[in-house]
């Protein structure tokens, strides 16, 4: 029997960049072509990592790939991004990150000094988050077959007892917290991309969040959902959660933490900060009565100083995200289709 491709060829006969943009196209690709074909009880958790029972211990296991261009951007480079991203995925499973693997796919011609700087950032980020790099691999590909360097990681963490964190646990009455200003990473990277150079003081928010979140887990075991709103931004992450839990999410525009510089850059480019990537942010969804203590704890850490409540979970409009605008109206916040493209005028 020949299996037909579930994404009609008439729509797209090739993979586009938008298929990796964190929006609807990427979700279609993952759900129809990967999840459906390879499904099992662990993949079906649709978590940032898989929760695996290994001889009585519960372990979280995740993987990620880093393909950022440019490799060096204000506030970091691809090295710390890889460590922080992997650590944060484990944190979002409610785990204590322990061991990471690193695979480098290096393009012939990468400056040795650049590779060294990347390794130094990896070292510093691993040290800060307390994880060990325990295995790895290095491949070199011909010039033109890579973008300087790609990094693939895997991470293992130990599940913290008494926590049960999963997007499907999102409940009516919960509140939504974020740990500070959004859209900084995406705009910082974009400001250095060829052809789009503009002057800005915006720095990537790349950071590991395990130290802060371990302190949070100490004070509360009531958290329902944790997610890092990376590619596709806050809007895509919240849409995923609303869909997974079949709840409605309402955001308050006036509470959304966005720096003046990011607002300005987004106005200029015609971008919506809700769809711009973050690399040091975490969405915390929990019952309202547990929020105050968690907020207090998060604010004690540099990466949580700007923590605030940005929305609530409701029984209205299940599966969808709405925004109460600054002018008092309401509108839908859809998942982006592909990538945001700078506008004409």
């Amino acid at each position: 029997m020949e299996l037909a491709c579930p994404i009609p060829i008439s729509d797209y006969d090739r993979i586009l960049l938008a298929h990796g943009g964190g929006g609807k196209l990427m979700h279609q690709l993952i759900e129809k072509m990967i999840f459906n074909e390879l499904k099992n009880e662990f993949l079906e958790q649709t978590h940032d990592g898989a929760l695996l029972p290994i001889k009585g211990n519960k372990v979280a296991f995740t993987t990620d790939s880093f393909v950022v261009n440019p490799l060096f951007f204000p506030g970091g480079n691809i090295g710390d991004l890889a460590i922080n991203g992997t650590v944060n995925d484990l944190v979002c499973c409610g785990a204590k990150p322990l061991y990471l693997s690193l695979s480098f796919i290096i393009e012939e011609g990468l400056l040795m000094d650049d590779f060294w700087k990347i390794i130094q950032n990896i070292k510093a980020a691993a040290l800060k988050s307390g994880v060990k790099i325990v295995t790895g691999d290095t491949k070199v590909v011909e010039k033109g077959k890579g973008d300087g360097i790609f990094i693939n990681t895997a991470g293992i963490g130990e599940l913290i007892p008494d926590l049960s964190i999963n997007p499907i646990h999102c409940q009516t009455g919960d509140v939504i917290i974020i740990n500070g200003a959004i859209a900084e990473h995406g705009i910082a990277v974009l400001s250095k991309r060829e052809g789009l150079t503009f002057e800005t003081d915006i720095v990537s928010d790349s950071a590991s969040l395990n130290t802060m979140m371990e302190a949070v887990f100490e004070v509360s075991n009531k958290i329902h959902v944790l997610r890092d709103p990376t590619r596709g931004g806050l809007a895509s992450t919240l849409n995923e959660i609303a869909q997974a839990s079949n709840t409605g999410i309402t955001l308050y525009e006036k509470n959304l933490p966005i720096s003046e510089s990011v607002k300005g850059a987004c106005e200029l480019l015609g971008f919506d900060p809700l769809y711009v990537a973050n690399e040091g942010k975490i969405v915390v969804i929990l019952p309202e009565d547990a929020a105050e203590k968690v907020l207090e704890t998060m604010k004690e850490f540099p990466e949580g100083k700007g923590s605030c409540i940005i929305g609530k979970v409701t029984a209205l409009h299940p599966g969808k995200v709405h925004l109460e605008t600054v002018i008092g109206s309401k509108r839908m916040v859809d998942m982006i289709s592909g990538e945001q493209l700078p506008r004409i005028c």
């Binding site: 960049l17 279609q28 052809g195 002018i327 700078p342 004409i344």
Partner: protein, 361 residues
């Protein structure tokens, strides 16, 4: 953010809505010309706040939406040639041509670059003297002077590997085309603030007089748009068919004279086809003789590339305000932002895409 937050003030919005409601004695069809205004109206949910008897009709001011399909095909064709780098504004990349779009040919190896300004395309021409750089120039009067400037500079620097694929359009002839249509329902216009920043407001005086219709120039923030609607309603109710500038912080009656001078140095008005609408006299821009060697259509002999638009897509009726996106049988069914059949579903300024993105469903 200064000059932005003041125009998104909730109290001011409430006051304006109240004033609009009490100023309206009957139902009115108002067209906002510019896609940027359509986008703001959706983004801020203004349709929900306005009284029911005010019908906002979304106009043709989305540059991506009105670019004829053969121009997309020409751009796709160029980008598939070896040795050509095609530079374009980001929104153009996803617009479907008759066979393909620029993002898809990029995925197949074509060198398609997103730039924020035509001057960045000029930079590419300097950096790659061995390649041909073609800038896909679309837009209204707002972006045209910058395109003109890049062509003047290319001439000065003798950059013979630079050319432009021009599909530029002008607003006033399109307004006249809408008003001359026997089925026209539009009773008042919100004119596009950015276009008027460049061109001024004078060219609207004769339209207001000839067609007996009030025109209010306004901006893009919610308070701008509502203040524009209020002023327009006052004029409509008083049957006072004049041009009013409600965007004084940006628009002067004469506009930006230096930008206009640059524009007319390089371009002259010409017959132009609008996607979904058809040909409108004097609504496009063609290169003047001294600059014609920068015309990509002539340079690469693209005249023979022509195409037909999808028969299902009702873009033309949407862009002229005859129908709304919900009236289209393909809307959100066979035509979605992931698989657009027509341009209004592509650009963030297109009415169909804005309805899908922001409408409470």
């Amino acid at each position: 953010m200064k000059y932005v937050d003041e125009f998104r003030d909730a109290q001011l919005v409430r006051t304006l809505i109240k004033a609009i409601t009490s100023a309206t004695s009957q139902s009115w069809n108002i067209m906002e010309i510019c896609g940027g205004q359509t986008h703001s109206i959706m983004k801020y949910g203004l349709l929900d706040l306005l009284p029911n008897n005010i019908h906002l009709v979304h106009g043709p001011g989305c540059p991506v939406c009105v670019t004829p399909i053969e121009f997309i095909d020409r751009a796709v064709h160029l980008s598939q040639q070896p040795n050509i780098i095609l530079a374009s504004f980001g929104d153009m990349l996803r617009v479907p041509g008759s066979q393909s779009d620029l993002l898809s040919v990029k995925a197949q190896g074509a060198d398609v670059r997103t730039v924020l300004s035509p001057l960045a395309a000029l930079e590419l021409a300097k950096q790659h003297p061995d390649k041909e750089i073609v800038f896909f120039a679309v837009g209204f009067e707002t972006t045209a002077p910058a395109i003109a400037l890049s062509i003047i500079q290319a001439k000065k620097m003798e950059l013979n590997n630079f050319s432009v694929l021009v599909s530029h359009v002008l607003v006033p002839p399109a307004m006249e085309a809408i008003l001359s249509n026997p089925q026209n329902k539009i009773q008042g216009f919100l004119a596009a603030g950015h276009v008027c920043t460049v061109m001024g407001t004078r060219e609207y005086f004769s339209i207001a007089k000839k067609y007996q219709i009030p025109i209010v120039v306004t901006g893009f923030e919610p308070v701008d748009i509502l203040a524009g609607i209020l002023r327009l309603l006052q004029k409509l109710e008083a049957k006072d068919n004049v041009v009013v500038n409600e965007y004084k912080r940006s628009v002067k009656e004469d506009g930006n004279l230096a930008a206009q001078k640059t524009l007319w140095e390089v371009f002259s008005p010409s017959m132009q086809k609008w996607r979904g609408i058809g040909k409108i006299p004097q609504s496009g821009l063609k290169l003047n003789k001294p600059y014609r060697k920068f015309d990509a259509v002539e340079k690469f002999e693209l005249q023979q590339i022509m195409a037909e638009e999808s028969k299902i897509c009702i873009a033309g009726e949407i862009l002229t305000g005859q129908k709304r996106p919900f009236d289209c049988p393909a809307f959100n069914k066979s035509c979605t932002p992931e698989n657009p059949m027509g341009a209004p579903m592509v650009s963030s300024e297109g009415a169909c895409a804005a309805y899908i993105k922001y409408f409470n469903q």
